[in-house]
Chain length 220, copies 2
């Protein structure tokens, strides 16, 4: 899923920024679907995990709107269930909803930053890690705030967990996630997943994935 | 668009309840699209205008979430613009958003109730009125809380406005809309448009129209 061996500089494919939050339920089908769709459309993805919590907080919400508004929450789970059935995806609620996604997001950024700076084939594990987190959290109901679960997912990708977890705990890694979250809010992202084209067009929701890819390519 | 001449009793087509609010922006493309799609799918529609205001109020909102959360509101208008461009629909913001939809909803229920009780061809004007209100409000930016605008729309459908407006102002008409709104909330409707199949499956949003029709027919 990574684009190893192609530096962003030589890459003429249209780009699409993929903003998502590991606690966001609709980000799960979107992240599972986006790899093959983007390859078919010849769109270069940039995965941008961020935190919705601080953005929600400024809207006066101290948790997910799906918790604050029960009718909306009940609907979301049923809607997601239908979506997952159609896609043949497993769905299992995590032990706590919304999941605490800080650790997963910091680790993901470590992996994605490695991929962005890497030239060698297979150097990047960031995108595969992101998909693995969603499959673990919402496909298997695992607790993604548990470092042991994150370590397990890294090991499954052939990545030694200890140095990555250590790097994700540094002030630099914390600052990186904070900056990404601020950037998301700055460009008008208010939910996840959100897709942003090179010309700044914003599309919100798993439902808008195909439209975002089409927009990215028609403007190329 | 009405199903004149076919009593609901003899009608074997699967049914779909269409819950909408005249101030709801996404109800506009949904209501314009639904007639032809339902005919093609052989689905019998029941139009159910209601008020989101009282439901929002119980969620702590005193206006549209698109007003309360500006980033979401900006996105909605842009998203709606893209949808309308794709459909070849005009889009013009009403003088006040959200529009006050009480009058239009009461009048619509008068027309829809006439249609439901009528046997003769062409007796019902309720569905055509609903579509006309959306085209006026969001296609032309007209003030649908203005009785003169509503009268004009009725006249355009060949319906003498005065008796209808008088009927819509009766305590019975007010109670009817209140009951419909309570029923919407009771069955879990929290936004508009929402589609509910005969087996109680709820679909929310213009994006779910095709899925709702497919669900209605596959369960038939």
């Amino acid at each position: 899923m990574t684009e190893a061996g192609i530096g962003a500089g030589d890459d003429r494919r249209p780009a699409l920024d993929v903003w998502f939050e590991f606690a966001s339920t609709y980000s799960y089908p979107a992240l599972v679907r986006i790899g093959p769709l983007a390859r078919a459309a010849a769109v270069r993805l940039r995965f941008r995990p961020f935190l919705l919590g601080p953005i929600f907080k400024r809207q006066g919400w101290d948790t997910s709107p799906f918790v604050i508004y029960p009718a909306k929450g009940r609907y979301m789970w049923r809607d997601l269930e239908r979506i997952c059935v159609d896609l043949g995806l497993p769905l299992r609620r995590p032990p706590v909803f919304p999941a605490s996604s800080v650790l997963a997001a910091r680790v993901a950024l470590v992996g994605l930053d490695v991929a962005a700076g890497a030239a060698g084939e297979g150097a990047g594990w960031g995108e595969a890690f992101c998909v693995a987190v969603f499959r673990a959290c919402l496909g298997e109901g695992r607790a993604i705030d548990d470092p042991a679960v994150i370590a397990d997912l890294l090991s499954g990708l052939g990545v030694p967990p200890e140095p990555v977890l250590a790097q994700a705990a540094t002030p630099a890694a914390k600052a990186r996630l904070r900056e990404e979250t601020e950037e998301a809010e700055r460009i008008g992202v208010f939910g996840a997943p959100s897709f942003v084209t090179a010309d700044g067009e914003l599309f919100w929701g798993n439902d808008r994935l195909e439209q975002a890819l089409a927009w990215a390519t028609r403007r190329a």
